[in-house]
Structure formats: C-alpha cells, structure tokens
C-alpha cells in the first residue's frame, strides 16, 4: 500500500551535524494498517510524514503509493502534493476561517482535477463525511465558532471526504485537553477501522501510539530505531533508546558471559550475575545493557527467601513516594539507582535493606547504543 524505500531528507547544521530530518526510512505497509511514527520532538517523524504528503521533497529514495511511485529521487519523479490523492489532518487543524464547515469539507471535491463532482454529489459526500465524524447538521456553521474538538472533526471530515487511500495525521490530538484526547483516540481508531483506510500517524505520545497502532516505528535523531507491533516495541525493545522511550525502565550495564537467547548470563558490577533473555544467542565478553521495567521488579525484605528461579539483587531504599495505585521507589543497588513500582500494600521506609527480584524473561539484554 505505502512503501518507503530508503527515503532520506536531512537538514544539516554545519558539517555532518544533524539538525533534523530522516535518514534511510524503509518500510512497507499493508492496506488498512494503522501505522504510527513515534519519537521525541525533532526526531524526523514529521519530516517523513511531510515527504509522504508531498509537502517536502526527500533528498533521495523512493515512495510508492499503491504501487505507483509518487516520489523517485533517481528517476526524477515527484508527483505534486495536490495530485497524490492523500487525506491529511494537520496539527493546527488548518480549518480555513473564511469558509463555513460545509465549504471546508467540500473543498477537496470542488478543486478536484481528477474528477468533476456535481453539486448533488458534493452535497451528499460532505454530509456523509460530517455524519461519520459526528458533526451532522453543522454544515452551515462558521468554522471558527466551533470548539477545538469539533474543529478536529472537521479536519478529519475534510481529509476523508474524497475517499483517499491514505490518511496522514500529524499529532492531531496534541492540542486537545486530556479527557477529549482519550475520547478522540478511541474514535479515530474506530473510524480508521470502519473506513478500512491506511493511516500514518505521527505522535510523541507513547500511550497514543500503543493504544491505536497496528505497527509502530520508533524514531530517534532521524533513524528508525525499531519497527514492529506495539507488543514487540514494549516487550522486546531493540535497544536502550526504545526501552527508555516506551514506558519507564532501568538499564543495568554489564558484561555478557554468553548463552542461548533465552538464557543469557550477564555479570553486572560487584561480580553479581543475572540471567536474562535476548533476541539472539550472545557471545561472551561483550558489554551489554539489561533493561528491567520497574513494574516487573518485586520488593522483599533483605533477608527473606525468594523464588529460586528469579534474579535477586540487594539494595537500599533511597526514597519512596505514593502514587495512588503504586508505590514508587528509588533503590540504590551498588552504585546504581533503580526505579521500582510495587503494590502499596507493603511499604519499605527509606534506609531499609530490600531484595529486588525479577524473572529472567523480564531482563532484556540490549546492545549498548
């Protein structure tokens, strides 16, 4: 459906320095996929989206939509944006203030060169689109009189009214308040599924990405760090950046003593050895990082006997704070501060010695970035 073939668009800052943009983006989406590009601001996700839309021209690479090249650096092809037949929702919604709701939504049909629409057809399509986004009957209103959430829906209606094959969404929820955002998230996903449209979504919010996507690309400094399902990304992060960006995590540095993928031994500071999982068999002697999520660590008193199969580390509680559903601890293990989240039923005061235990499958061996 949408294929990016080694697409690069880099904004250099001086010599070889990265100031934004994307390098060698390479992926292929099946029809109907909800695809999210996730990363911190300035990572290049929006640049990639704008390259797909035709708002930016990549430096090199190929973009194919439905098998047709809409950009091909080598062949000198660049279909201008207004002929790509893509729907897009902008971060600022970009609702034209001088037009009514109806006129805003009807615009793509009115300017269409590929097809001439009759007034009746336009009427029907616009009302249909407004109905779909839950704004039936709002057509005659002035667009600027509506609330942020409603403008968001107009933008969506405008993006889908001409039945594009691809829908691009550039942080569409970032300007909404928290409750509205959750509602819109669910609705966006429902709409996308109903319309069967392929969607490319850009966000820096990991919750949005995890909740809505079929496939996520985590991007940092112009490089795609990992491409996979939300489960892949969360449970099997490819590197320290992904592990840290999606949810919270602790990274322990150590030396790999080798082993098969599901039984790697890593020696961390002070000769302590822990058993972990990795994506592949590990060679002995390499420096690695081990990612352990705070919610996967169980705390116990320092002298309590724990499950033999789990890893066990001894530390001292530095601080504890009550967050409602969990207690959040900072525990010092050796010279490393580790975050632990545990059930508030039992509380360890600062200064007390505790044992941290976690299952080997919760320790993910990651290459050092």
């Amino acid at each position: 459906m949408l294929k990016l073939d080694n697409v690069s668009k880099v904004y250099p800052a001086g010599k070889n320095e990265y100031a934004g943009g994307i390098r060698n983006a390479d992926f292929n989406l099946e029809p109907g996929t909800f695809f999210t590009m996730l990363g911190p601001s300035g990572c290049g996700k929006t640049t990639t989206l704008r390259c797909i839309a035709g708002l930016e021209e990549p430096d090199k690479g190929r973009i194919l939509l439905d098998g047709r090249p809409i950009f091909d650096g080598a062949a000198g092809v660049s279909v201008p944006m207004h002929r790509r037949n893509i729907g897009m929702v902008f971060q600022s919604y970009a609702i034209w203030p001088h037009m009514s709701v109806f006129e805003n939504v009807a615009f793509p049909l009115k300017v269409s060169k590929a097809e001439r629409y009759s007034t009746a057809e336009i009427d029907k399509a616009v009302h249909g689109a407004l109905e779909v986004v839950g704004l039936g009957g709002y057509g005659a209103r002035s667009a600027t009189q509506l609330s942020g959430g409603q403008q968001q829906r107009i933008a969506l209606a405008r993006a889908i009214v001409h039945r594009p094959k691809l829908l691009l969404l550039d942080e569409p929820l970032s300007n909404l308040d928290a409750t509205l955002r959750e509602g819109m998230r669910t609705e966006l996903k429902r709409l996308q599924t109903e319309l069967g449209i392929t969607a490319v979504y850009v966000t820096h919010d990991q919750t949005e990405a995890l909740a809505m996507s079929d496939v996520i690309a985590v991007i940092q400094k112009g490089h795609v760090q990992q491409f996979g399902t939300p489960q892949d990304i969360y449970f099997r992060p490819a590197n320290e950046f992904v592990a840290g960006f999606i949810g919270h995590t602790n990274i322990l540095r150590g030396k790999s003593l080798g082993g098969s993928a599901d039984a790697v031994t890593v020696e961390i500071g002070g000769g302590v050895r822990i058993r972990c999982h990795a994506d592949a068999d590990q060679r002995s002697g390499e420096t690695v990082g081990v990612s352990i999520r705070p919610e996967n660590i169980v705390l116990a008193g320092g002298h309590e006997v724990a499950n033999e199969n789990n890893n066990r580390l001894i530390g001292r509680v530095g601080s504890v704070s009550f967050l409602g559903n969990v207690l959040h601890y900072v525990v010092t293990v050796g010279d490393q501060a580790m975050q632990v989240e545990s059930n508030p039923d039992r509380r360890f005061e600062p200064g007390s010695e505790v044992a941290l235990s976690f299952a080997p499958r919760h320790g993910r061996v990651l290459p050092v970035a």
Binding site: N28, D66, G67, P69, D72, S78, H82, W96, R158
Partner: protein
C-alpha cells in the same frame, strides 16, 4: 508489492508528466513577476547611472563618457551648502516630529487622560490631506501678513515679524508638523504593546511618574524610537513639498530642490547634472536605509506582549493630567484646527488677505462655486483618482504574488523581494528624474499621459505594498495553505481561494494606504505630469505658485474631505486587525 513493481514502468511516464505540468505554476509565476519587476525597476536605475557619467548631445544621441557632472560638485560650493541644509533640515524636523508625535503617542496609549479621540482625529485627517494644503495653510498662518505675526505686532507694537517663515526655521517647523501625525501613529503601536506590569513595577519600587516614564517607558521604546527617528530623517532628506514651497522662495536650497531646479529651471534641462545629483542622493539614502534596516530589526527587542488576554492598564497621571490634556489640545489646535480655519478663511475670501474683522463681510462661496463648476478641477480629480486606483491596484496585485513567493521561500522569492524593495532608495524627485528619462527614451507615447504617472507610482509604492502583503502572509498559518495543497488544489487555486480571501484585510489596508499617499505625491508628479495629465498635487502647487490661494483652499478642502473619508476607512481596517 511485486505486482505493483511490474506496473511501475508504465505509470512513471504518466507521473512525470503530471509533475512537469504542475510544478510549473510557481516557477512560471516567479519568472513572470521577475520579468515585470525587472522591466519596471531596472531601466530607471540604469538610465540614471548611465546619464550621470555620459554626455548627451543636443539631438539626444550619446556623446561619450564623462565625469564632468560629478566634477561640478567640486567646483561649485552650492552642493556643499545644499547638503548642509538638507542635513540640518532633516535633523531638526525629525526632532520636532518626534517631540510632538512621541509625547502624544505615549499619553494617548498609556495614560488615563481624556481627549484621546482628538489625537486620532488629527492623525486621520492629516492622512487624507495633501501636504501642499497643509504647507499652504501654515505658510499663511506664519507668514508676514498671517495671524501669528499679526498678533505679535499687536502685542509688541513693533513693525517687524516674530518669525520669517521663508527660512530654515520655518521649513523645520512645518516639516516637523507634517510628520508628527505619522510618528504618533507608529509610536502609539509601540507603546500599545508595552507591558503595563513593567511600569507598575517601577511605581511599586518607589519611582515617581517622571522617573517611571523616563526609566521604563521611554527606555523600553528606545529601539523603536531610534528606528523611527532614522525613518523620519530619511523621509525629510527626500522631502520635496516643504523645500519647494518654503525653501525655494526663501533661498534655502536642499538636495531635492537642486535636482528639481536643474530640470525645471534650466533650459534645456540639465539631465546629466540632475542624474549625477540623483545618484549622490540615491547613495546617501541607500546608506541610511541600510542602517535603518539594522535598527528596525532591533525595534521589537523590548516589546513585551505576552498573550491574548493582555490588556494594558492606563497609567494614572494624577494631578498632572490637565497638562497632558492641554498638550493634546494644543496639538489639535496647531495641527488641525488652525490650518483648517486658515484654509476656510482663504477659501471664503476673494483674495488672500490677513485676518481682519473688516474682511468678514467680503466672505463668499465664490471659490467653491468656481471649483465645482470648473472642468479643470473635475479633470484634476479624475486624473488623480485614476492614477491612484491604477497604481494601488497594480502594486497590490504584484506584491501579493511577490509577498507570497518571498514569505514562503519559493524559488526566486528573495530576488523578487529585493527587486520590489529597491524603489525605496529612490527619493520621489529622483524617481521622477529617472522615469522622465526612461519615458523620453522609449518609443511608446507614454510621456505626458497619466499612464506615465500610474506606472511610476506603481514602482514607487511597490515596497509599501510588499510590507503589507508580506507581513500579512507571515501571520497566516502555513498549514492553512498546505491543507489546500493536500486537498488537491494547485498553487494558483490555493492563492485564489485560500490566500487572497484570508489576506484581504491586509490587502485592502495596503491598497488604501497606497491610494492615499499616491494621491498626495508631488515630487514625482511635478516632473512627470504634462499639460494633459495634471493631478491634484501638481494643480495645487501651480495654484499656490500663481497666488490663487483662494481656489487652492476651496478645492483642497473639498478634496481633503473626500480623502479623509478613505483615511477613516483605512484606520478602521488597520485598527480591527491589531
């Protein structure tokens, strides 16, 4: 995907054609505008420089290169005198304008004084009134037989005059008065965005009113004030009305009147010398504008506007309030009421005479009758309106496209921006000289028609149009136009259906502004209008020179009334936007 890859070859030619067909509009637009602007702007510069270093034979053929025109600067002391006069004139009138306009701007914008509307009224009416009319009125007021000297003689019993208006000090006063409304307008916007908290913080720290105004209000506005001062200084160097009407009769020559005289009062016109003079003036203004650009960049340095909810609180002047009100009232009387009364007096009297009780019975509406009945005045007005409408429309249309190409960094945008800004360095009189020579040397019968004026005005006001459209476009969120592109609209459709409607307030303001100043313009018109292409400013100047003050006043009052209506419209539009 394998499937689609086999289809790839057959489709690629199709898309390549699509690309070629439709990326062109922007490039075509750039190229077309580039061609138009080059034809409009470059010949004037080229011919000016060319003529300044060449000899033109009596039969208009080329007679070789020379530096003799420039060499004359060294042999005649006139140039030094004129330059000196220009600088003194510009500096002092800037001071006068800043004092009158600046104090008033702060009081009106930031204090709790009453009578604020008087200040705006003065400003708006002065926007619509031709300079010549004002200058004429003040010349009458301050003249030998005028009421000011009358009162002086009455009080002192002397037979002399308090001020001789046809002198440098007269020029400075009148030019300063002319510019103070503009200073007021521009500085009031600076003071409006100043954060009241900062002034209140100074008061809370124990500063009194004057310490606060000096240490906070004025110091914070300093970058803007400096930029504005240089701007007024440049306009005063370029000024023509006051030097022509006050300076020339009084024997005080400045650079612009020197240029004018070498064309109008030398037979045959000394175009080489005028060109050399113009080149010097061009360089001076160019250098000054360069510094102005650097100052203007810093002008907003301390502007502290914070958000939409921002509402400045007025500054309580306490018991000093009446002084402020007296000051504004004085300004109103001096800048508006007295000139208007003087004009009314002149218009109602059969001939120019001093204000005497004995002259009241002689009042009549004869001059107004003549003005309304005369074909000549109707033609003046029509010509002026046609020229103003054509020039404002052409300049706004051109700068709409240039502004978009430049603001959105499209190919060629920077170059187009520079081309359209270039006319700024031309003082009116120099532009007049340049286009005079251009029109005389092309085979088209443009010289002497109103189209010569319309074309020259279009070029002259391109920079103003560009500022309006460029600033307007920058305020329009880029995603609004990108959304149109993604929705399937090409660049031209986008400009027509999204950009033009969204920009219309800025475009209308720009149009009105250009129309208002184009209909006042004297310097260009003085050189370019022929017997059949007279415009209001030139007509008024002739009336003044011929001593027909009565008709001048009557016609001027009618004309100014109409223009003031437009000025009100302009003001209302720009105010709503801010």
């Amino acid at each position: 995907m394998a499937n689609s890859d086999t289809r790839f070859n057959s489709i690629s030619t199709d898309t390549q054609m699509a690309q070629r067909k439709s990326r062109n509009p922007t490039l075509w637009m750039s190229a077309l505008l580039g061609a138009i602007l080059t034809i409009l702007v470059l010949p004037a510069v080229a011919i000016l420089i060319g003529r300044s270093v060449s000899i033109t034979n009596p039969d208009a053929s080329f007679g070789g290169f020379t530096l003799q025109h420039f060499a004359r600067f060294l042999t005649t002391p006139d140039v030094l005198t004129s330059t000196y006069n220009s600088i003194v004139f510009a500096t002092l009138s800037t001071v006068v304008a800043l004092l009158f306009g600046g104090v008033q701007a702060w009081l009106v914008e930031r204090s709790n004084m009453r009578l604020k509307s008087l200040a705006y009224l003065t400003t708006i009416i002065s926007l619509g009134t031709p300079y010549i009319l004002y200058v004429g009125a003040w010349l009458f007021l301050l003249g030998r037989a005028g009421p000011v000297n009358d009162v002086y003689r009455l009080l002192t019993g002397s037979r002399g005059v308090m001020i001789d208006v046809y002198s440098m000090s007269g020029m400075v006063l009148i030019e300063g008065f002319l510019w103070s409304p503009l200073v007021f307008l521009l500085l009031s916007s600076t003071f409006r965005v100043a954060n009241a908290d900062l002034e209140e913080a100074a008061r809370m720290s124990g500063a009194n009113i004057f310490q606060t105004i000096w240490a906070v209000s004025v110091k914070m506005a300093m970058p803007a004030i400096l930029a504005l001062a240089l701007f007024v200084f440049i306009r005063a160097i370029e000024a023509f009305e006051v030097p022509a009407m006050v300076g020339m009769p009084g024997g005080v020559d400045v650079l612009t009147t020197d240029v004018y005289k070498s064309i109008k009062e030398t037979i045959p016109p000394d175009l080489g010398y005028a060109s050399a003079y113009s080149v010097v003036l061009l360089l001076v203004v160019g250098v000054l504008l360069y510094f102005y650009g650097r100052l203007a960049k810093n002008a907003g340095k301390y502007s502290s506007i914070t958000g939409k909810s921002f509402r400045p609180r007025p500054f309580d002047l306490g018991s000093y309030r009446w002084i402020a009100e007296a000051l504004v009232l004085f300004n109103f009387v001096l800048l508006l009421l007295l000139p208007l009364l003087a004009l009314l007096w002149l218009a109602l009297q059969p001939f120019m005479r001093a204000v005497r009780l004995s002259a009241f019975p002689a009042m009549s509406l004869d001059h107004f009758r003549v003005v309304f009945a005369s074909e000549y005045y109707r033609e003046l007005a029509m010509n002026t309106i046609v020229v103003g409408v054509v020039a404002a429309t052409a300049a706004i249309i051109l700068t709409f496209f240039v502004g978009w190409l430049s603001a959105r960094r499209k190919p060629g945008g920077v170059l187009l921006d520079q081309l359209a800004t270039a006319p700024l360095v031309f003082p009116g009189i120099v532009m007049g000289v340049a286009f005079l020579m251009v029109f005389l040397s092309i085979p088209l019968p443009i010289y002497g028609t109103i189209w010569a004026l319309a074309i020259t005005y279009t070029v002259r006001y391109l920079p103003y149009g560009l500022r309006y459209s460029y600033a307007g476009i920058l305020q329009i969120h880029k995603e609004l136009e990108e959304a149109a592109g993604v929705a399937g609209a090409g660049p031209l459709t986008m400009l027509r259906r999204i950009m033009a409607p969204l920009l219309s307030p800025a475009l209308v303001s720009g149009w009105l502004f250009i129309f208002l100043i184009a209909t006042k313009e004297l310097a260009v018109a003085a050189l370019l209008s022929g017997p059949n292409s007279q415009v209001v400013a030139v007509g008024m100047y002739d009336l003044w020179v011929n001593g027909q003050g009565g008709e001048l006043a009557a016609f001027g009052l009618v004309w100014a009334a109409v223009m003031t209506c437009l000025a009100f419209l302009f003001y209302a539009l720009t105010k709503n936007k801010a």
